[in-house]
Symmetry: C2
Subunit: 212 residues, 2 copies
Amino acid sequence: MQIAIALFPRMTALDAIGPYEVLQRLPQFEVVFVGHQRGEIRTENGFLGLTVDATFAEVPHPEVVVMPGGVGTRALMNDKIVCDWLVQSYATSVFTTSVCTGSLVLGAAGLLNGLAATTHWAAMDELGATGAIPTDARVVEHLDQRIITAAGVSSGIDMALRLAELLVDDTAAKAMQLGIEYDPQPPFDCGHLSRASEAVVTRLIEYASIRD
Amino acid sequence: MQIAIALFPRMTALDAIGPYEVLQRLPQFEVVFVGHQRGEIRTENGFLGLTVDATFAEVPHPEVVVMPGGVGTRALMNDKIVCDWLVQSYATSVFTTSVCTGSLVLGAAGLLNGLAATTHWAAMDELGATGAIPTDARVVEHLDQRIITAAGVSSGIDMALRLAELLVDDTAAKAMQLGIEYDPQPPFDCGHLSRASEAVVTRLIEYASIRD
């Protein structure tokens, strides 16, 4: 069984690698990194190269699709190859999922119409514009529709543990959590916008404007 | 200022990408992925390719060193090029750090003699054999010695937030936490060995034996 994780220029690495690190340890699955063409893509700032091993066309029916986010997602929203692949693979997938602004691409492909969904906190309005109902939750799942969306960047780890439970069983998911020693102890409590001060938000905007 | 993250065959991707995702957003730093030779390396199971952009020799004096872990670290413990690079770069680094079994390599290089240090929970005995004092903590820091070690895989995210605070200030670190929306909500509470059942540990060992 295949888990396809999309890679594309100017993506956010952790959106893909968080779920990968959980799911690659399930021996029932093969993980394949898919993209427009085989070879290297670069993350937002160009610091990191990741390898695409198969084109979208070469992986038409994966059991699981993971669409990561990043500034590069805006280009994908109008990309017919990506949107068609999402729609086509969704028809036979067990779960179609996204992390961060990856949900904007699911939305652009028409997969989130009228559905509650989540994304990075800074992209909620954009998500709503695709027809989804933006929802402030870390993971939003629709088991009937086989669609799961996760919030910003690091939330893909939480989502992948839930996916492992759904795909195998809860013992498997717990074993994956122990394997990656996911016993989070953040030194601060600023991971949600509601608990971040104005100074923190201002600093983030300042840094992002320099890096982008 | 440079942050050098080592890449090597059969490494664990999240050990490197967790810290990368936090630190790459600090505009004061350039992140460079270093290794034996430029080009692609593959993670444990071969599913993921990551690009080495510079050799160890080309980055002799980074301000920060991050040594990730993975099954491939055992080969590095007897690797003179890697151990010499760690010792040499340590002399001028602001912080030399490790994630997961990356601390075994710091230990093999002689950097942890008599120091409390941490690693993946399954590698504590190996860590002790290098001369370090194995310590069950998520992040162990020695600010006088400029050495920080983190526990298994996902702990690199927590360590990197602390590093951001030490390298810049706490507002910067909190901004990075908000940027990656690190508000962890694991669906289970099995991230530490003390809270995992025998069935979970058994499953993890079973899966690891298949994948390795």
